[in-house]
Symmetry: D2
Subunit: 469 residues, 4 copies
């Protein structure tokens, strides 16, 4: 979602279901497995064909829903959403799904991605008398549907989605219909599954696994799928454009047990690690990941290089969101709370650390320092993607360019900043060639600055006026 | 507010302020003193001319706001709202003030009263593509403003308020302007005060007292008052119609220390009690109220009749909202928890109990039973208004007609149901003649069924479709 | 309870029950009606003859217990306690009843009052190896019982209570026995009732009323009453001393609907007001109380003097514990939040305000100021007890002497401080002669400094070492 | 801790510190890193030499302490505790450290382990008049100290610890002294570290790492160490007995980055896995752990066998304590929520799963079933310790014998129950020979039933009488 006021961009997880009983419980499970895509808020909207009910709240799925809430959400049609926001305004008002009533009845929407022409659409809608209650671009899509002069809901939705540009994997729901859609570029994933005669839509296949649904296929870029009692109908937005799926989903964002964009994430990450070992071997006694995100590339690196794999950092599974950084001294105690290095394994050794990516570099620098403290002899770092240099306008929340370490420093400078004996990044060619599908199907903008859809810098005119607490 | 779905109608409290520092703290105080007008939710919206911030929550003013929230709400212009709902859907989504952005910037609204043509306006708006997020008729007013084709905000507001029918005391706020309005019938109160060069708008004068503001005057029926840096401007909606203020505000709803509709509530209630003593004397040893609402009429009754006044029921000030009715037996323990009769004062006596009104009669019946138990000799009840027989469509939340004891039973039947030795209600003539202004200025619909503004029975077409949890 | 470290002294409420089903619900009701005796913490201990269960928590009865807790507390024997502490250390560790296991099984205790030889007993117990976990003198009584060399529990309890000096109305409970006791001076009240063949013990009769128990009699000073399946047995501690019940329970502390120490509180307060009118008439247009504590004396004053009674202050029933005093200015906004004067009734009038007592005088001073602001012509104050000059060592939590306004100022000085036209206090003779029993049965120490039991100033040697959070 | 009533036995984590500033923050960090040893409650007691303050609560360290609590706990001497209890009575009353006052001042104790003669000591103490407030055997140690007739505290503590039998790693604290102790058998770990001139005591070395303290040595079995301003003093309880440290700490309980009982846990687990590969090779395409506890043995198994290592289960890091098991059907959805198998890696493969131990076998059985569902060809399971057959009386909370799958079934029967192609357990000889120190230093009772200290079956006489909620 793009936010009309200057909030960070968000990535999110979607889960929808049609044609089963106790759908709220299944959506709860699905959102649980998509929790990595958003931890800020969670919501479920359910219909029993007569009434639509909703429950949303701030925090993890687990804390938003209890037996009470799930029990109240009876129905056989539901959509759910988890939202991610690293900083900034975080309000239950912006939690999704977003439920409204319009001339055609009730409508709920859940959105993953970021529109790039939100401001223009927003201003045009306000000029015609629309009022806005959230700072989410998802509200714009609802207004476009409500204002569409087409007769049928299908046509209204097609009309509406034809006007938006940018990233939008969407679930839309009426009291008796479930609709899934992906933008024409196919930036964010969305897949279709089957369960006991009903249908499931989810951001990643790991969410199908959890409810034991069978994978059918991905929703195609530009496809809108309508599911109701009569069955499944599919439409395609025109014209067809070159697909540009987010390659960073493979590098970091998606779960390793998911299949997205035609391939498996775990295997792809292992290939990235293997390719990294070919491009940049390391003279090391052991290979270790920064867990858990670096695990799979590290396995690939170790397997390809023949260097032993060790889990040199031990993860504390109890570190939650409210850890208090002690004030005792300037030393960064916190860094060891989450990951503590195993001195006996690492002391006196030359180690190769494999990580999926480097964003700001500050935490990484602290981790390297703890390795030096315990007497590691040499630290060689290998990153399973090229340097991140450019912002994402399609839904991944990178920090500003000045905070992206690779946008202002050379690899050698980063190596020095992190206190490494050597640092190497996978080549763009290596990244692309490790993908399970041809490389021209991906957006590589964060690495090469080539944006497949133009981003409009215009800022909505009253963006600074309102702030929710 | 009228609710598009079948919620109970609400009464509410309003407080707005312009041109002072730390306005959030003053609104907090004002809402505290208006808490009797609504205990379900509370909210404050503040502007510092650059940004508008809001905080709303379920529950009492005290539990919604802490130092943290008040500290965050800096500004010199603010409106606040307390909402009342005895039963049914109660959601923070319906908490007010209601803050949106539209083509002209940000707009917040707080509403006391109930529109009677909400469904028609709602359907017309939806037909033009408006989307609705709440079940409050207040949202309709905002849409009318946003959709108005007038140029200036003043004209948009006048345009909008000209279309609504029913009860609407309103506060509207932009980032630099405070607006107060009353419907042409003047159903609900709203007054203007002055404080240290700034302005205050409040539902009742007790809220002016609390912040030590000086009372200037009431907002007139059909008047819209615009307050900004340039000063105060006033407009009147046309055409002028006969005022029909809610007489029940005097009987029960308003605080006794408030002045509304041109008179003082405490004194008016004493006059009701005195008139009641004239119309229906009682052969009693003592006069006592059902505290606290019956206190003032009981004082008037005692004074007029010369019978000693006693406070025969002792109120437990710690009874809150979550009192658990014990399951021990069929006996109604709860009734004594709140009010316990003083046996030593009452045993063997003939007593006259004065109460402001009788709605369902069930609690009253239990109270009478506890008096019989402790050995009261005779119980004569006197009610300081006529029997309540008809529903209110303008914002007082009476139960359905079948639950209003006086709509289906004669006075004699009620007397028997309550277990009384005698029961008398003040006459309508007595009620009206005790008012501080001429009686034709009041709506008496709940007593005589004569509705000054027609209520439209049509139900919005999708009223049953959505339900917020 | 006396606190070994320098906490304020406490007053508390007790409720015990034997021989009924669902006793936890009845104790809940009883504590509700005794909530005025303590709002800091609440607890219930229940036995079903096999197991003893407890639940305690900080806050009001209502917030400590829900259906869940009450449902878990099954049994036919229970005691409950509400605790009061105006300032200082407030910890769930100090919540009562206090439940322990000792050589004879399990024992729970609930205590109202304050021992004066706690330090001596405490040091002696520690010297013999006892360990202490709370700062309550009630823990001492338990240790004395556990350490007693008597064989039978009855004898252990008699042995233990023979050693303590000061104020102690007590409930003690084993898995199959309910015990009630009052100290030989009879400082604090405790009464016995009957309900459906079972027994009830309560601090005040209002708690019997709430569960519809029949009043039997008061526990006598120095009496210990043992209730079990075999019936009720009574013992008396020797030697018999002159009773010295707390007269302040009549003046302020007890509920007006209670009977204590042989008389009714409401009627006694009216007599105090009437006597006050005789001793100190006022040339006033109306008599009004400071509600609710001054209500009854004001009624007596009005009745005796013939001056009309008005309720000139309106109480806001929603003011809770977390009211935030605004920082807006030096003006005391808070004072009007709780009680707002009715300008229309009071403006230009000469008024007589009746209050039960004056402690610090600061709040009272602010109230007088709000009366002056609204144009009251003359304010005459009448207090229904003599000046409070001395601290209480037996369980009423008065502030330190330097803060008691009457301990350092003459009546004329207080009159000036409060900004009054005249101020008069009831005479000690007037106070005593208004009591329902002969005056030599009362402790008057707070008025005349004559302490019936010596207070030991010695401080426990490790009193400053431990502090619970 | 042994519980006098029939609670499960507990294992716990200890952290103490002396001679630094802001010790509460350091204890907070230390407890964070020991959270795996206890998640039920957490507590910290701090002294500034004048006052001792405490804060305890139910739940994780993170939820018990905020900036507010840590800020209030100023001092230079502190002890902390995390408590573990899988089922049963869980009350803040039983949270540790346990703080009391006795004749010598204040004393706090924190205990890891389980006394086996608690009942006898408890009954003897009650016979002398001691009262008990908790169900923890730790309270017994405090009573023994308070009742000791020795003069000096050191002698009282030695006297007390000489009387207890079983497992007791202990931290004791007065207002100016920190004391650490281990029972003569050395069942549970406890080590000493140094930090900036102060001292640290901790259950495991991972807690020294987190505060960057330097490891000095382990506290020896039977050693009591006294730390105060004058320095460190050490005493030994007599007579010296054969050490019997808990081997299960190496197998499962301790963190892999800790050193305990003379060796590193990570390396020991890898040796267990390597030995397992020697004893029981598997004809498999890949080796995978059940994460995270099986990771290290699986790495050893893979390295020794030359079979590729894969992380075939993906862990959901967001699964918390309140996950709701859906009611949708009899299928066990929950099992996939925590660990989801990666189909693309595992389908059609022969896999060897390495796990540290098998307790009940039910969760394990479900995991195997999910592997079969996705088409795994063969599943061979290898367990890095012998079958668990006997209960632990020294502090590890195994379920009852009838629930321990290996106590009633043969390996072949378990293999069938779990649905495996093959199942093998490491031999006792293999287990012992993989340890970093000679095998006669370990308690192997859970495997071979040979208990180094006799367990007394006697039950305290009033064990069933009291139950805290």
């Amino acid at each position: 979602m793009y936010n009309i006021i200057d909030e960070p961009k968000d990535s999110c997880g979607l889960f929808g279901i049609f044609g089963l009983r106790k759908v709220a419980e299944l959506v709860y499970l699905g959102l649980y497995s998509l929790q990595h895509r958003g931890q800020e808020s969670a919501g479920i909207v359910v219909s029993d064909e007569k009434r639509i009910k909703e429950h949303k709240g701030m925090g993890l799925v687990e804390s938003v829903f209890s037996h009470v809430e799930l029990g109240d959400l009876a129905g056989h049609l539901a959509i759910g959403h988890v939202r991610y926001s690293t900083t900034g305004i975080s309000s239950v008002k912006n939690a999704q799904p977003f439920l409204v009533r319009y001339g055609g009845g009730s409508l709920a929407i859940a959105h993953n991605g970021n529109l790039v022409n939100a401001c223009f659409l927003h201003d045009a809608l306000e000029a015609k008398g629309s009022i806005f209650q959230t700072t989410m671009d998802s509200e714009i899509i609802i207004h476009l549907i409500a204002k569409s002069e087409k007769e049928a809901l299908k046509d209204k939705i097609i009309d509406s989605l034809s006007q938006v540009k940018g990233a939008a994997s969407l679930l839309i729901m009426t009291k008796d219909q479930l609709i899934g859609a992906r933008d024409v570029n196919g930036f964010r994933p969305l897949c279709l599954g089957e369960l006991d005669g009903g249908y499931v839509l989810a951001s990643e296949t790991c969410a199908l696994d959890i409810v034991r649904a069978n994978y059918i296929r991905e929703i195609e870029p530009g496809e809108i799928i309508f599911i109701d009692k009569k069955g499944v109908e599919s439409f395609h937005l025109s014209p067809k454009v070159q697909t540009s799926s987010c390659i960073f989903e493979f590098v970091y964002f998606a779960r390793p047990d998911s299949n997205i964009f035609g391939g498996n994430v775990y295997q792809t990450r292992k290939r990235l690690g293997a390719r990294l070992a070919e491009e940049f071997p390391a003279d090391a006694d052991l290979v270790m990941p920064i867990p858990d995100s670096g695990n799979y590339a590290a396995l690939g690196y170790a397997e390809q290089s023949g260097i032993p794999f060790e889990m040199g950092f031990i993860r504390n599974h109890y570190v939650g969101r409210t850890f208090i950084q002690p004030s005792q001294s300037i030393r960064d105690f916190g860094v060891k709370v989450k990951l503590n290095p195993v001195k006996e394994i690492l002391k006196g050794k030359r180690i190769a650390i494999v990580e999926d990516s480097v964003v700001r570099g500050t935490t990484c620098r602290n981790r390297i320092a703890t390795l030096r403290e315990i007497g590691v002899k040499e630290v060689h770092m290998r990153i399973s993607c090229p340097p991140l240099k450019y912002p994402c306008f399609y839904g991944i929340d990178f920090p500003d360019r000045e905070e992206l370490i690779a946008s202002t420093r050379s690899v050698k400078e980063i190596e020095k900043f992190l206190g490494l004996d050597s640092l190497e990044f996978l080549s763009l060619e290596g990244l692309v060639s490790s993908m399970p599908i041809p490389g021209d199907n991906f957006c590589l903008a964060c690495f090469n600055g080539k944006y497949p859809v133009k981003y409009f810098e215009k800022i909505a005119k009253n963006r600074l006026e309102t702030e929710e607490e």
